[in-house]
Symmetry: C2
Subunit: 117 residues, 2 copies
Amino acid sequence: MINSPFNCHFELTLELIGGKWKGLILWHLHDKKVLRNGEMLRLMPRITQKMLTQQLREMEENGLIRRVVYEQVPPKVEYSLTPHGEAIRPILEMMIDWGVEYARDKNILIACTQQKG
Amino acid sequence: MINSPFNCHFELTLELIGGKWKGLILWHLHDKKVLRNGEMLRLMPRITQKMLTQQLREMEENGLIRRVVYEQVPPKVEYSLTPHGEAIRPILEMMIDWGVEYARDKNILIACTQQKG
DNA sequence: CGGCATCCTCATAGATACTG
DNA sequence: CAGTATCTATGAGGATGCCG
C-alpha cells in the first residue's frame, strides 16, 4: 500500500481531475474519442501548449489517458481515454449539470465551447 | 448577465467546490447538518483556522453554505448548507466512489476520517 | 469562542523563444 | 507536428500572534 497525503477519497479524485484544464480535456476526449495535440489546441483556444502538455502528462501518469506515438515524420501523437478516464464521465456530467443550474440561478454567463452529448 | 472567466460549466463548478478543503467541509456538513467553527477544527485536525475561515467565507459568498451568528457572549456561530450546497451531494458521492475504486486499483492508502453515509 | 492581521515560502501558470 | 526551456509574476496556503 502506498501512503498518500489525502484526507479523503474526494481529495484524491480532485487531485486527478481538478487541474485547471483537465475537465475540459477529458470532456473533449469523451466526445471525440481520439485527439491529437494540435486538435486540442484548436478546441481550447485559451490553453497554452505548455499547459496542455503538462496536464496531458499528469493524466497519462495517473492512468486516465493513453498516449500513442507513431514513429514517423512529421510526428503523430494520439491521445485517448483509459477505462479509469472513461469512468470519470458521469462525474463530469453531474458537475456540468450542477453548474448550468447554478449559473442560471445566479445569472452567470459562461463562454461555452462544448455541449453535453 | 454576468460575464465569467470560465470556459465551461465544469470550471464553474470546480471553482466553487475545488478549494483544498471545500469537499471535506461540505461532506461533514452533509453528515452533521449544523456545525460550529470549533467542531470543524476537531473534525479536520489538519486544517488551519485561517484556511477554514477562508473556505467558509468563499462558500458563503457563493451561496453554498449559510452562516448564522448568535449575538451572545461567548460568541456562537453555526454553519449549514443552502439548497445549492445540498445539491452538491451526489457529485461528492460520485467523486468518492470513483476515488475508492481508483485507490483500490492503484493500491493507494487514504487516511479517511469520514465514511459514506 | 471565533475569529483577524501579518509575514513568508513555494508551487502554479503565463509569456516568450527554441527544437528534432 | 509536437513538443522543450527559461524566466517571471501571482497567489495559495502555512506559521504565528493578537482581539472583542
